[in-house]
């Protein structure tokens, strides 16, 4: 019997398949379409300290083999999450990973502090694709100093597993991963969306309400696989890989590039049962190839 069990830092997962933040809500929308308990873990959409109303529409548009989104982190805020969403999520018998973001280091730290000790939260994921309003709007995830300092601040308030989710919109993701590791992150997740734009030629204006957005889906997959491959060579931390995973073969590419777990985002919109299908597909692949333990595949694409 092949085992899909995997481990990312202290976190034991029954399968390596997670939901990508922001694409699966708080899970309830998909509950009638699949058995949520078959997920390796549920990464919920990013929450912030206070509610956020999000960006003006249109918020998304399809692009060749992908899509652009500019949701603007619409979410009901920490208080609502703790009162209304967390109690429901605690009843699910799968690891819950909470994605957080803020406009200042203090906001991230306050979130970590409020969540420390809450039962049922298996890990925190830092969404680093957010502008730091105190530093002129530069993204936390694009500056080594900002990123290192932010991870350190959160680390001081959060004793559980800490995931740093990197943005690919930088010259070299590896430097940023090192900064996250030095700050105390336990796991690296990659990639978040790649910035892009579509012009509405009839209006002669950017199509999205926010003007630009983040690209996801199969179009970004080769970029994401390369980043995971590079991270695996450069850092010791476990990696959660994502970007355009639609099927078992896509997931295998990320695992062989070095991911100990993978997340599905845009794929859920196309086929809500993508994760259950890949879970079955991975098992079949391993059994056919005589692989007993998923770890035999992690990083298999690298020469030893």
């Amino acid at each position: 019997m092949s085992s899909l069990k995997t481990r990312i830092a202290k976190l034991e997962l029954e399968t390596p398949l997670l939901t990508a933040s922001g694409t699966f809500g708080f899970g309830d929308e998909y509950a009638s379409l699949m058995n949520l308990e078959g997920l390796g873990g549920l990464v919920v959409k990013t929450i912030t300290l206070l509610p956020r109303s999000g960006n003006p529409p249109p918020r998304l548009v399809e692009t060749p083999a992908g899509m652009l989104n500019a949701i603007g982190l619409q979410n009901p805020g920490l208080q609502h999450f703790l009162e209304k969403e967390l109690p429901l999520l605690q009843n699910l018998h799968i690891p819950l990973i909470l994605s957080i973001a803020g406009e200042t280091e203090e906001e991230y730290a306050a979130l970590a502090e409020a969540l420390e000790g809450c039962t049922g939260i298996a890990a925190l994921e830092l969404n680093l694709s957010c502008p730091n309003v105190k530093k002129g709007g530069i993204l936390f995830g694009t500056d080594i100093v900002l990123l290192g300092s932010l991870v350190e601040k959160v680390r001081a308030h959060w004793t559980g597993t800490l995931i740093a989710k990197l943005t690919p919109n930088v010259t070299d993701v590896v430097h940023l991963a090192h900064a996250a590791a030095r700050g105390g992150a336990d796991v690296i997740a990659a990639i978040n969306t790649i910035r892009g734009m579509v012009i509405d030629i009839t209006k002669r204006r950017p199509l999205l309400g926010n003007r630009f957005g983040g690209l996801s889906g199969p179009a970004v997959r080769p970029v994401a696989v390369k980043i995971v491959y590079d991270l695996y060579e450069a850092i010791k931390l476990p990696i959660i890989g994502m970007g355009g995973i639609m099927n078992t073969n896509d997931a295998l590419q990320f695992i062989m590039a070095g991911a100990s777990a993978v997340a599905v985002g845009t794929g859920n919109f196309v086929e809500p049962r993508t994760i259950p299908q890949i879970t079955a597909g991975l098992k079949e692949y391993m059994e056919k190839s005589g692989i007993k333990d998923l770890h035999e595949l992690v990083g298999a694409a690298h020469e030893s």
């Binding site: 809500g25 379409l33 109303s53 529409p57 949701i71 199969p218 919109f269 049962r273």
Partner: protein, 260 residues
């Protein structure tokens, strides 16, 4: 709401670029309400990638069939138009919040272009509930006009409007409707669906008519089930403005609550 594999029973081009698609899927046929939509996987590959939303244009619970009317405008609807009897179509549905009939008789349906689809379903169900129903239906010219009477039982009063005057009244839908009001039509409530500029004009005029008015809105969609927040429209309620999801709280909204 479920994910279903529906069997294509019939598909035909009913007017230029307009297709009528009849699907066999008993669960959808028995549960879909007027105003709700299906989110369709139009291809098997990654182009087009996302599902496409289409309003339910009618159901026949007894035979377990459901009808969609769609206009071919791009790659997704092109693929749909190539379906053949016996093909399978992956559907999520029924999705969204339906129309609610609350007001007085007669109900007036205001449809522009492809917006007629959900209103045909609504008209039919109101007729069955014993209501008096008027349908004002506008298009650019005769070629673009659907033979709507084919999709409605006798009893709904149909008023056509074409911008070139080739069929029905000459002019755009809102002008033709205003003319009918001047001649004494006294609607109990309004239901509108169509291009945004038309809905804006109607919502604006309704500030004078002050009739209960529901509109069915469109926005680009990814998940279709409320998970991604991608289909937001600005709504005002109790002095506050906030974004609501077309796929969940919508597509039907009270016209007075939409920030036009």
């Amino acid at each position: 709401m479920k994910q279903c594999q529906a069997l294509v029973q019939e598909i035909n081009e009913v007017s230029s670029y307009f297709y009528c698609l009849t699907l066999e899927e008993p669960y959808l046929a028995q549960t879909a309400q007027p105003g709700q939509f299906l989110h369709l996987r139009v291809g098997n590959g990654i182009a087009p990638l996302l599902r496409r939303p289409f309003s339910v244009a009618g159901t026949s619970p007894a035979t377990g069939t459901i009808r969609l009317l769609f206009r071919r405008v791009g790659a997704g609807t092109e693929l749909l138009s190539c379906l053949r009897k016996g093909d399978w179509l992956d559907c999520l549905g029924p999705l969204g919040t339906p129309f609610s009939a609350v007001g007085k008789d007669p109900a007036v349906l205001l449809a522009g272009g492809a917006g007629v689809a959900p209103l045909l379903f609504l008209g039919e169900s109101m007729l069955n509930a014993g209501k008096n129903v008027h349908l004002f239906y506008g298009a650019a010219d005769a070629k673009a006009l659907l033979p709507v009477d084919r999709f409605l039982s006798p009893g709904v009063l149909i008023h056509f409007a074409t911008e070139d005057g080739s069929v029905g009244e000459h002019g755009n839908l809102s002008d033709v409707f205003k003319l009918a009001l001047d001649k004494g039509l006294a609607p109990g409530e309004l239901f509108a669906c169509g291009p945004l500029p038309l809905l804006r004009v109607l919502a604006n005029e309704n500030r004078r008519w002050v009739l209960p008015m529901q509109v069915s809105l469109e926005e680009n969609m990814a998940c279709g089930v409320g998970a991604c927040q991608g289909c937001a429209v600005l709504i005002k309620k109790d002095g506050e403005t906030l974004y609501k999801r077309v796929c969940r709280e919508g597509p039907v909204f009270n016209s007075s609550e939409v920030v036009w």
